[in-house]
C-alpha cells in the first residue's frame, strides 16, 4: 500500500500524457475557434437584467442585434470599451451586453465609470449563456440577424479596422437588405 503512494506521481503523469496525445491529434488546431455556430440559430437565452427586465433571444426577433460578452475583470474589454461607446453613440448600432461571470455591482461600477454603450445588459453570472454560445474568452462579439441566426463572431477586442470593414457592412446589409 505504501509503495502505491510512490507510484501515484507516475500514474498521474500517464493520465496527463494521454490527454496531451489526444490534444495533438492531426488536424487539431487550437487556434481555430469553432465556426460551427456561424449561420446556425443562436442558442436561446433569457437573462436577468442589470438595470431593467433583462434580455432574451426571443425579444430580439425581427431586427439584427450585436451582442457583446464582457466583464469588469477583463482587461481587453477595457481596451475595446471606447470603441463600443463610439459605435453606440455615433453609429447607433443595436448593441446589447452580456456580463459574463461577473458580479452585478462590479459591472455597474464599470459602466458608471466609463459610460454605458449597451441598450441593455443581461447578467450571466454562472456563465451558462457563455457556455451555450461557446465563448472562449471575453470580450467576444456576436452579430445575430432578425431570424435569430448568428451571422458573425469576433473573438477578442474588436479593432477599428474590423468594425469598418466587417461589423458595419454586415449590419448595414442585415438591416437594409432583408
Amino acid at each position: 500500500m505504501r509503495k502505491l503512494i510512490y507510484a501515484l506521481p507516475v500514474l498521474l503523469f500517464a493520465t496527463l500524457a494521454g490527454y496531451f496525445i489526444l490534444a495533438l491529434q492531426p488536424g487539431y488546431d487550437p487556434r481555430a475557434l469553432p465556426s460551427v455556430m456561424i449561420d446556425k440559430p443562436a442558442p436561446a437565452f433569457k437573462l436577468a437584467g442589470l438595470k431593467d427586465d433583462g434580455i432574451s433571444l426571443e425579444g430580439f426577433k425581427g431586427h439584427p442585434v450585436v451582442i457583446n460578452f464582457f466583464a469588469s475583470w477583463c482587461v481587453p474589454c477595457r481596451e475595446e470599451h471606447p470603441l463600443l461607446m463610439r459605435l453606440a453613440e455615433k453609429e447607433k448600432i443595436p448593441l446589447y451586453g452580456i456580463d459574463y461571470k461577473d458580479r452585478p455591482e462590479d459591472a455597474t461600477r464599470l459602466l458608471a465609470q466609463f459610460g454605458n454603450p449597451y441598450r441593455s445588459v443581461g447578467l450571466d453570472q454562472d456563465g451558462r449563456a457563455g457556455l451555450d454560445f461557446g465563448v472562449y474568452g471575453v470580450p467576444e462579439t456576436y452579430v445575430i440577424d432578425g431570424t435569430g441566426r448568428i451571422r458573425k463572431k469576433f473573438t477578442g477586442p474588436m479593432t477599428a479596422k474590423q468594425v469598418e470593414q466587417e461589423l458595419l457592412p454586415i449590419l448595414k446589409q442585415l438591416s437594409g437588405g432583408v
Binding site: 509503495k3 510512490y6 506521481p9 503523469f13 490527454y19 490534444a23 482587461v75 461557446g134
Partner: protein
C-alpha cells in the same frame, strides 16, 4: 560558411552529448574513474560547441544573411543592431538553441565546480544532464533547425514581430530559460540519487544552491515578463493568467517549495523522498511549460509555433524524461530511509506546511491552465478559464502561506513553541489589524480583499523584521552590538529575511491595485480630462518617423494643483512591413504611484482614444521580485556553500547557522 560551421558544431554537440550520457554512467556502475571523468570533459566540450553554434547564428543575424531561412523570416536590414541580436531568441528555433545553450552552461558549471563531489555521483549527474541535452539537440536538428538555407536568398527579411522589439522582452527569455534550465541540475541530482539509492545532507547541500540560483533567475525572468506586459500592452495590467505566464509560474511555485524542503534535507536529513519528488516535478513543469508554448497546444499570445509535429516530438521527450524519472521514483523512493522525527509544531513542520500549501497552489494553477485543454480533448466546449477562477482559488491559498511565513522562522527545529512564537509577533499582529481598520475606515465599503492583503503584507513584513530583531537582539543590547550581530549574521539568514520582505512588498503592491483609478474615453485635442488628483491636457498629436515605423505621438500635459508636473508622450506605432499597430505607453513611474498613459485609435471627428491609469504602488510588485531574487543571491553567498561538504564540519554547522 560560418553558418555551416555552426550547424556542424551543433551536430557534433549531439554526438558529444550521446557520449556524455552513456560513458560516465557505465563508469559509475563499474567504478572506473577514467570513464567517469569523460562526463566532465564531455560537458565542457559540449558547451564550447553549442556556444559556437549560438555565435554562428548571432553572426548570421548581425550581417543579415537572408539565405538562412530563420534570419529571413525573423530579421530585416532596417532593424536596429540590438534587436537583430535579441531577435535570435525571439523565434522558435533560436529560442530552442538558447535553451540548450543554457543547459550546456549548467552542465559545464557542474563539471567545473564539482571538485569535492563524490566522483560516482558527479558522473551520474552529468550523464543525466547529457540525456536531457541529447533529447533537445535532436529536437532542434530534426524539427527546428535554425541553420537551414534557402536559395535564391530573399532580398530582405520579413522582420520581427514589432511587439517583440523591446528591451524588456530582449532580456526576459534568457533569464526565464536560465531559471527553467537551472532546475535541470536539481533534477539530475535527484535521478542520480535515485539510481544510487542514497540521499544525505551532502546531497541536500548540493541541490539547494543550484535550486536557489535557478529560482533567482526564474524570479527575475517572471518579473521582467510581467513588467514588459505592463508597460507594453497598454492595458495597465501586469498579470493576465495567460497559459504561458502560468507555465512559468508553476515551476516557480514548486521551485519555491523545493528550496524550502531542501533546507530540511540538509539540516535534519528528513523529507528526503518528498524533496526528490519536488525536484523532479519542478523540472518537469519547466518541460511542460516549454511543451505548452512550443506546440501551441494552448493558444496564447506567446505561442509562436503551432506545429503538431514538434509537439509530438516534445511529447515524446516529456514521456521519456518525466515518465522515466517518476517510474524510477516509484521503484526506488520507498527504499529511502525516513529521517529524524519532528513534532507538528516545529521548524520542519512549518516548512512542510509551506510545501503543502505551495503544492496546492501549483496544482490549482495547473488545473486552471489545463482544464480547458482537457475539456477540449474530450470534445467538450471550448472555454477559457480567466481571472475569476484564479482569484477565487489561488488568492485564498496564499493567505495561509503569508500568515505562516511570519511564524515559521521563529519556531525551533524538532519541537517548537507556537505560543511563544506568537507572543513575539503580537506587535506585528496589532499593527496589521490597525492598518486594516484604518484603511477600512478611510475607504469605508472599499475592496475588502485588497485591504486584507495590505494587512497581510504588513503582518509578513513585521513578522520577518521581528525575527531579524530577535537575532540581532535589537534594543536588548547596545546598538553597536546589535549592528555587529547584524553584520555577522549568516548570509543564509540575511537572504531569508530579504526574500521574505520581497514577498511582503509584492503582496502590498498587488493589493494596492484595487485602489487604482482609470480614465477611458475619446479626447479632443486641446481638451482636459481628470484622473485621480491630476488634470491631464491633450495638447497635440503629431506624426513622427521611427527607424522602421511611423507613429502618432501625443503630448499630454500633466497638471497638479495648478502646476505643470510633466509632459508625457504616448505613441501609437504603425509598422508598415507587418501591417501592425502597437502602442507605446508613457509611464511616470514612482514608488508611491505610477501615472500610465496609452494612446489608442482616432475617430473621424479628430478625437483620440486615451487610456489613462493612476496606479498606486504598482512598481512594488516588481521591486518585491527583485528583492526576492537579491535575497536568494545573498543566501547563495553564504559561507557554507563555499566551504564545501567537509563531513568533519557537519557537527559544528547547525549551531553556526542555526536559524535559517
Amino acid at each position: 560558411m560560418i553558418t555551416e560551421l555552426g550547424h556542424f558544431a551543433l551536430i557534433l554537440a549531439l554526438c558529444v552529448a550521446v557520449a556524455q550520457s552513456v560513458i560516465p554512467l557505465i563508469g559509475a556502475s563499474r567504478g572506473q574513474a577514467g570513464l567517469m571523468d569523460v562526463g566532465r570533459s564531455a560537458a565542457l566540450v559540449q558547451f564550447l560547441l553549442i556556444a559556437m553554434a549560438m555565435g554562428a547564428l548571432i553572426h548570421a543575424y548581425v550581417v543579415s544573411d537572408f539565405s538562412v531561412i530563420n534570419v529571413a523570416q525573423n530579421s530585416h536590414t532596417d532593424k536596429p543592431l540590438f534587436y537583430k541580436v535579441t531577435g535570435v531568441w525571439g523565434n522558435h528555433e533560436g529560442s530552442m538553441l538558447l535553451w540548450v545553450f543554457m543547459l550546456a552552461l549548467c552542465s559545464a558549471a557542474v563539471a567545473t565546480f564539482s571538485g569535492n563531489l563524490p566522483p560516482d555521483l558527479r558522473a551520474r549527474v552529468l550523464s543525466v544532464q547529457g540525456m536531457i541535452s541529447v533529447g533537445f539537440l535532436a529536437f532542434i536538428l530534426l524539427t527546428s533547425n535554425p541553420f537551414l538555407r534557402t536559395w535564391p536568398a530573399p532580398e530582405n527579411g520579413q522582420g520581427l514581430n514589432p511587439v517583440l522589439q523591446d528591451p524588456g522582452l530582449a532580456f526576459h527569455p534568457p533569464f526565464l530559460y536560465l531559471g527553467y534550465v537551472g532546475f535541470s541540475v536539481a533534477f539530475s541530482f535527484s535521478v542520480a540519487a535515485l539510481i544510487e539509492g542514497r540521499v544525505d545532507a551532502a546531497w541536500g547541500r548540493w541541490v539547494r544552491p543550484w535550486s536557489l540560483a535557478s529560482w533567482c533567475f526564474l524570479t527575475i525572468g517572471i518579473a521582467l515578463g510581467s513588467w514588459w506586459a505592463y508597460y507594453t500592452l497598454g492595458w495597465g495590467g501586469w498579470w493576465f493568467w495567460d497559459p504561458v505566464e502560468n507555465a512559468s509560474l508553476m515551476p516557480w511555485i514548486v521551485g519555491t517549495a523545493l528550496i524550502h524542503s531542501a533546507i530540511v534535507v540538509e539540516r535534519r536529513e528528513t523529507l528526503r523522498s518528498w524533496t526528490i519528488l519536488l525536484a523532479i516535478v519542478t523540472f518537469s513543469l519547466s518541460l511542460v511549460g516549454t511543451f505548452l508554448v512550443r506546440s501551441g497546444v494552448l493558444s496564447s499570445v506567446h505561442a509562436f509555433a503551432v506545429d503538431p509535429r514538434r509537439g509530438a516530438f516534445i511529447l515524446g521527450l516529456l514521456v521519456v524524461a518525466i515518465g522515466g524519472s517518476l517510474t524510477l521514483y516509484a521503484f526506488r523512493a520507498p527504499a529511502l530511509k525516513g529521517g529524524g522525527l519532528f513534532a507538528p509544531v516545529s521548524r520542519e513542520g512549518a516548512l512542510l506546511l509551506n510545501n503543502i500549501l505551495l503544492a496546492t497552489c501549483a496544482a490549482t494553477v495547473f488545473l486552471g491552465t489545463l482544464y480547458p485543454l482537457f475539456l477540449d480533448a474530450v470534445n467538450g466546449p471550448k472555454i477559457s478559464v480567466g481571472a475569476p477562477f484564479f482569484n477565487r482559488t489561488f488568492v485564498p491559498l496564499m493567505v495561509p502561506v503569508l500568515v505562516a511565513m511570519a511564524v515559521g522562522p521563529l519556531l525551533a527545529w524538532k519541537r517548537g513553541d507556537l505560543l511563544a512564537a506568537m507572543q513575539r509577533l503580537w506587535v506585528a499582529f496589532a499593527a496589521a489589524v490597525i492598518l486594516v481598520l484604518a484603511v477600512l475606515y478611510a475607504t469605508s465599503g472599499g475592496p475588502v480583499m485588497a485591504i486584507l492583503g495590505l494587512g497581510l503584507a504588513l503582518w509578513t513584513a513585521l513578522g520577518v523584521l521581528a525575527e531579524w530583531a530577535e537575532r540581532v537582539k535589537l534594543f536588548r543590547v547596545t546598538p553597536a552590538q546589535s549592528w555587529k550581530r547584524a553584520v555577522h549574521l549568516p548570509r543564509a539568514a540575511m537572504g531569508m529575511t530579504l526574500a521574505h520582505l520581497g514577498i511582503a512588498i509584492t503582496v502590498a503592491g498587488i493589493s494596492a491595485q484595487a485602489f487604482q483609478q482609470e480614465f477611458l474615453g475619446m479626447v479632443q485635442v486641446g481638451t482636459n480630462f481628470p484622473l485621480a488628483s491630476y488634470m491631464l491636457h491633450l495638447d497635440k498629436v503629431e506624426r513622427v518617423q521611427g527607424p522602421n515605423y511611423i507613429a502618432d505621438e501625443a503630448s499630454i500635459e500633466v497638471w497638479k494643483d495648478g502646476h505643470l508636473v510633466a509632459t508625457q508622450h504616448p505613441q501609437r506605432r504603425y509598422f508598415k512591413l507587418q501591417d501592425q499597430t502597437t502602442g507605446e505607453t508613457a509611464i511616470r513611474s514612482g514608488l508611491v504611484s505610477d501615472l500610465y498613459l496609452a494612446l489608442g485609435d482616432p475617430d473621424e471627428s479628430g478625437a483620440w482614444t486615451v487610456r489613462a491609469y493612476w496606479k498606486p504602488m504598482v512598481s512594488w510588485i516588481w521591486l518585491g521580485g527583485l528583492v526576492m531574487a537579491f535575497g536568494g543571491m545573498v543566501s547563495l553567498s553564504d559561507r557554507r556553500w563555499r566551504v564545501g561538504v567537509a563531513t568533519k564540519r557537519q557537527a559544528a554547522m547547525p549551531q553556526l547557522a542555526a536559524g535559517e
